[in-house]
């Protein structure tokens, strides 16, 4: 299904995030990628749908090499990969339904998007998914009125609206409290299994990964250092992934995980500056 070969990513800043990663997923399973901040987890996931352009290597999804696609084909490939984000990344000012239907954008023309006129089957699928993630009745609520857990449910539903062949999930629980985290993980794993979709999931919470994933991959400093069943994760392996020295050297390197936002200027400053 998914085969990653010798994937290397070097950022223009010179930082080498991935040092030739090899990974393949051959059955519908939930694969958790664990590792310290700056290990390259986020980069790896973003290389697969090319939100981050890989430097060298190949990523083959069901026979097509994603790294070689042009703009148009890339959009077609992206339709087949659903993505779930740490910060949910919903369109805050739109309703839950619009956010869900945005998962079908790759299939709908611009004119229909413009008029918010979606195919009836999509609408029905959206209602059904809302039910499945436990948000029935919320279709007309604006996303910015939801709690963190509810937003992540919308994020999950949006990804599943794509009817994806692969789910890419980036730290789905890092912004949530422990209880909600568990609920969200349960929903993700349940829906992935039910629809038979393989999922690649970044997570820094090891116990959570162990409890829910079918397979665990340990990433340290851009290299895969562990690949096996959750119960094979021993103390020894964990030290290998999260070694204390590693912590100290990677702390300053997490450019791909925390992006700094510029300071927002006050309203006065903008208006005065404009005239």
């Amino acid at each position: 299904m998914l085969t990653i070969t010798d994937l290397v990513k070097q950022y223009p800043t010179g930082l080498k995030a991935l040092h030739g990663v090899n990974l393949s997923i051959d059955e519908p399973q939930v694969v958790a990628i664990i590792g310290p901040s700056g290990a390259g987890k986020s980069t790896l996931i973003r290389c697969i749908n090319r939100l981050v352009e890989p430097t060298t290597g190949s990523i083959i999804l069901d026979g097509t090499d994603v790294t070689k696609l042009g703009r148009r084909e890339l959009r077609r490939a992206r339709r087949r990969m659903g993505m779930i984000f740490q910060e949910y990344n919903l369109v805050e000012r739109l309703t839950v339904m619009e956010n869900l239907l945005s998962g079908r954008l790759g299939y709908v023309g611009f004119w229909r998007t413009f008029r918010r006129n979606y195919p009836p089957d999509d609408v029905q699928a959206a209602y059904q998914l809302l039910d499945r993630v436990g948000l029935e009745g919320y279709e007309n609520t604006r996303a910015d009125a939801l709690s963190g857990g509810q937003r992540q449910r919308v994020g999950i539903a949006r990804a599943l609206m794509q009817q994806p062949d692969l789910l890419l999930i980036d730290e789905p629980t890092a912004s949530l409290d422990p209880k909600t985290s568990r609920q969200i993980m349960r929903i993700i794993v349940k829906l992935a299994h039910e629809s038979g979709t393989p999922a690649l999931l970044n997570i820094h919470d090891v116990p959570l990964a162990q409890a829910h994933a079918d397979r665990v991959v340990g990433l340290a400093d851009g290299n895969i250092v562990f690949d096996g069943k959750p119960d094979e994760l021993t103390e020894e392996v964990l030290t290998q992934i999260y070694g204390e020295e590693d912590w100290s050297t990677t702390v300053g390197h997490d450019e791909d995980e925390t992006r700094k936002r510029p300071r927002r200027r006050t309203k006065l400053e903008r208006e005065a500056a404009a005239g």
């Binding site: 009836p120 959206a126 059904q128 609206m161 400053e269 005239g275």
Partner: protein, 269 residues
């Protein structure tokens, strides 16, 4: 999701609009359309002249090019007068805005004083600089004095409004804390108010300096000195090539003003 064929979910979803009632929605659209018909109709827009405009615009630009910088002495005098007006006005405006701003803060000033100060701010803010300028021209005669006073009034109104709002937005706690030490009102000002608003006051003042440089180019249209007066004269004499030279200088001046303001603000931080 195509596999589970459940048919009991709706197939249609309509986005809830800001105005939910369809009739009201259509009514609003109709009102807007009607307004445009009314306004365009009542303005007695001369479409013939409008269509001729493009030709005349071409003509005008033809006569503007190339810009004529030969009378650079006149140009330089106008520009420097504008800059001087802006600097002097910003200085006086900054100084005068402090008492007015303090009086216009509702958490500081007694009610009658507050109302008078707010009244001054509202009235001075309402009238466009050019209106204020022409009245000053009638009182003080033509020349940069009227222009400078106009900009003083405009700066005073802008800075004091910002100052008053800043003071009103101060957290009551920090004010109470200093009051609780038994400080007198002047000490209270120095210790509780000034340190908290000084950076913003300076920032706003520098914005105002920038704005004054822009506005100093226009008060001359009614004879209040500066480069605007030179521009108006050149337009009246159809000296369009000189007009373009002046316009280029104004754009350059505004540019430098903006750059200068940004530089000082970066120093302040």
């Amino acid at each position: 999701m195509s596999a589970p064929a459940t048919t009991d979910y709706p197939k249609i979803w309509k986005r809830p609009g800001l105005i939910t009632n369809l009739h009201v929605q259509r009514g609003v659209v109709a009102l807007v359309v009607l307004y445009f018909f009314w306004s365009i109709g009542s303005l007695d827009l001369d479409w013939h002249r409008f269509s001729q405009g493009f030709e005349r615009a071409g003509n005008l630009f033809g006569r503007m090019l190339p810009p004529d910088f030969s009378r650079w002495e006149l140009l330089l005098k106008g520009v420097s007068e504008s800059i001087q007006m802006a600097f002097a006005a910003s200085f006086f405006g900054m100084a005068l805005a402090v008492p007015v701003g303090l009086c216009a803060a509702s958490n500081l000033a007694p009610k009658p004083v507050y109302l008078v100060a707010r009244g001054i701010i509202v009235i001075t803010r309402t009238f466009h600089e050019v209106i204020i300028a022409i009245i000053f021209v009638k009182i003080f005669g033509f020349g940069p004095l009227a222009g400078m006073l106009t900009l003083v009034v405009a700066s005073l109104s802008f800075i004091s409004k910002m100052l008053a709002e800043d003071i009103e937005n101060l957290t009551p706690g920090s004010l109470e804390a200093v009051r609780a030490t038994g400080a007198s009102f002047p000490k209270f000002l120095v210790y509780a108010i000034i340190p908290q608003i000084l950076p913003r006051y300076l920032g706003v003042s520098i914005y105002r300096l920038d704005a004054n440089i822009r506005h100093s180019t226009v008060v001359g249209i009614v004879g209040a000195g500066g480069i605007g007066q030179v521009l108006q004269a050149s337009f009246n004499r159809y000296d369009y090539d000189f007009s373009l030279a002046i316009l280029i200088s104004i754009v350059a001046l505004v540019f430098i003003g903006e750059f200068f303001g940004a530089w000082i603000r970066s120093k302040l931080r």
